[in-house]
């Protein structure tokens, strides 16, 4: 017997932020991005998402760098205003780690509640969870196009490999080919799909016994700006504690190493030829060689 989602109100009894699960609507993929201060990344992230998804929901959590305005501008540039929903979640949300563990899952301040509320607006046949710093490659966009017909007769969980890219300037970035993260990012929008609390962060749950499909190796990469503090959404600096947080430990290590001019094993320095931004270079199919030739 699998748990199914139910409508519920938050601990703080704020009715405007109740979780109410709607009936499914049209479209295959509804992308849901929860963002805070991603104005720098969104111009790279959103165009690919608009091309790949049927609908896009962006939930802003208290940005003060113009993130919502940037998102609306990109939606207009892509001709996607009618497929774009901008929502605001004006509450402090607990950071991943011990803060999250200590927050009740039905509190308005819980990551778990935040996710449930955000996704309760998504009506496509599939939920596509995405971050405001993840860029789809050209090959990744093609994969999504193929999935739209490949999934017509099937419910499945789609796992996507992701690599971190540390951006130094318009011309130079560092790709860590040694740190591949494979996670489910897309799953069916069914009554068994919602979010629960795990030890360090929220955890999506979904119908049991579905097949898992893995997208190609160079489907997306995650932007990390070397001149920004990439770890503000964690509540402690040490990530060595568990198997689950070791990825963060590696990111911490690489971030600081390349900032100091070192090149750890598995990290590639990518330089643009000069006629385009290094991020656009990385989006091209040829850049797959950095991860395929590991």
């Amino acid at each position: 017997m699998t748990l199914t989602r139910k409508d519920f109100i938050n601990l703080e009894q704020l009715r405007d932020f109740e979780v109410r699960w709607p009936d499914p609507g049209e479209g295959m993929f509804t992308a849901v991005l929860r963002v805070k201060n991603e104005s720098r990344s969104l111009p790279w992230v959103l165009p690919g998402v608009f091309r790949a998804a049927d609908d896009v929901i962006l939930v802003d959590n208290g940005s003060d760098d113009g993130t919502p305005e940037i998102a609306q501008r990109v939606a207009k540039e892509q001709g996607a205003e009618d497929r774009f929903l901008l929502l605001e979640y004006p509450f402090d949300v607990s950071r991943c780690g011990t803060e999250h563990l200590g927050t009740p899952p039905n509190s308005i301040h819980s990551l778990t509640y935040f996710y449930n509320w955000a996704f309760s607006h998504a009506r496509g046949r599939y939920w596509w969870k995405w971050d405001g710093d993840m860029v789809l490659t050209e090959a990744g966009e093609r994969s999504f196009d193929e999935l739209k017909w490949q999934l017509e007769g099937l419910d499945a969980i789609i796992t996507i490999p992701r690599y971190p890219v540390y951006v130094e300037s318009e011309d130079v970035a560092y790709l860590d080919s040694d740190m591949r993260n494979r996670e489910p990012w897309i799953w069916p929008n069914r009554k068994e799909s919602f979010f629960v609390k795990s030890f360090e962060w929220e955890l999506p749950v979904w119908p049991k016994d579905l097949p898992y499909f893995l997208l190609p190796e160079w489907t997306c990469f995650e932007l990390k700006w070397l001149d920004a503090d990439e770890f503000t959404h964690w509540s402690k600096s040490s990530f060595e504690g568990t198997i689950r947080t070791r990825r963060k430990a590696r990111e911490w290590e690489v971030f600081h190493a390349v900032s100091e001019g070192e090149l750890p094993f598995g990290v590639h320095r990518i330089e643009s030829p000069g006629d385009k931004h290094v991020i656009d270079v990385l989006r091209e199919p040829a850049s797959a060689r950095y991860v395929l030739d590991r």
């Binding site: 017997m1 629960v196 749950v205 504690g241 568990t242 198997i243 689950r244």
Partner: protein, 351 residues
């Protein structure tokens, strides 16, 4: 010692199956095979069949029920558990379970009777950690019928709840232990698991991967929702109600404030235990004629009757004789088998 023997005890409907099941899903080892799920626990009991069989056998020998209100039952169960054969069997079984595992979960409705035995048997290979689930007795006491199919009056059920909570606490005093309030499990099961794991230094908590956490989350059982009964609905005697409420309040407060191991709490619980024994003794002696009429010739196990001395001696003697008879029959059978003597007493090898 890195190994952890995790013993999960508590009344039916207090969340023990859920808690043990969650630990199992998160990577602790529940010795296999497990007791098959049924209507009482559609998502499983989180119990090892071997453990259930072992406890059931000992309880039968002790003449104690799974939920038994008699204070004397604790010494009866301790007595059978201390027998060398029982101890050796348990020690060997535990050692084998830790051969390839470092966190083993033991849960059974009968476990509370044998906690000291598990400690003795387990501590050579692991650190025993005791977790008790606490839920208000109004959610535990059933209307005439327990989940185990027995028919006990709510007075008897309430008394057995008091007995098990008070003596269960006493039997783990000084051990590495934690109390999980059902309310915490209901509100935020992951936090409840994380907190007790931190308290007991259970390192398995660092290992679960997302698939395991999903499995753990899926174990929540909607049938354990509060029933919202009141004491008058169950017709429980007011003296028992008063004592049950005090026991619950003391343990609940101790659990909430993490003060279970503090001296004032221990004193308060000792006092409650004394009051319970006094109440039970009063009830038992008052009902002595009814007991005698119903169980004429059977051992009563009551400390009041034991004060008579001779009756206790006769009871013990009868038990010893019956046990000796059974053992002798087994020994003779085995000797005959080894020497090839057939059932009729003749050697099968001729002569």
């Amino acid at each position: 010692m890195y190994n952890r023997l995790i013993l999960v005890a508590g009344s039916p409907r207090s969340g023990t199956s859920l808690f043990a099941g969650m630990l199992g899903a998160l990577g602790c080892h529940i010795p296999q095979p497990e007791v098959a799920r049924d209507d009482r626990a559609p998502k499983g009991f989180g119990e090892s069949q071997w453990v259930v069989n072992y406890h059931s056998k000992l309880l039968r020998r002790a003449g104690v029920e799974t939920w038994d209100a008699r204070p004397a039952a604790w010494s009866q169960t301790a007595d059978v558990a201390r027998e060398q054969s029982a101890e050796r069997q348990l020690q060997r079984w535990i050692a084998a379970e830790f051969d390839t595992r470092d966190h083993v979960v033991i849960k059974d409705a009968r476990l509370h009777w044998f906690l000291p035995a598990w400690r003795r048997a387990g501590e050579t290979v692991a650190t025993p950690c005791f977790i008790t689930l606490l839920r208000h007795p109004l959610e535990i006491v059933e209307d005439k019928k327990t989940p185990y199919g027995e028919r006990w009056h709510p007075n008897a059920q309430t008394a057995s709840w008091i007995n098990s909570m008070l003596y269960g606490e006493r039997s783990t005093r000084g051990d590495r232990r934690g109390l999980v309030r059902y309310e915490e499990l209901e509100d935020d099961a992951m936090l409840a698991v994380a907190q007790v794991s931190e308290r007991l230094d259970l390192s398995f908590i660092e290992r679960p991967m997302p698939a395991q956490m999903r499995e753990a989350t899926n174990l929540a059982d909607p049938s354990l929702k509060p029933r919202r009964l009141k004491w008058p609905d169950l017709e429980v005697n007011e003296r028992l109600v008063e004592l049950a409420e005090e026991v619950f309040a003391t343990l609940d407060r101790a659990g909430r404030d993490d003060e279970l191991d503090e001296k004032p709490v221990a004193s308060a619980l000792d006092d409650l235990r004394k009051r319970y024994v006094d109440l039970y003794t009063f009830s038992e002696t008052t009902a002595q004629f009814s007991i005698a009429a119903k169980q004429r010739g059977a051992p009563s196990g009551s400390p009041a009757i034991a004060r008579d001395g001779s009756l206790l001696t006769r009871d013990m003697a009868r038990k010893v004789m019956e046990r000796t008879k059974r053992k002798s029959k087994r020994t003779i059978y085995q000797l005959r088998k080894r020497s090839g003597i057939a059932a009729g007493g003749r050697s099968q090898e001729g002569g």
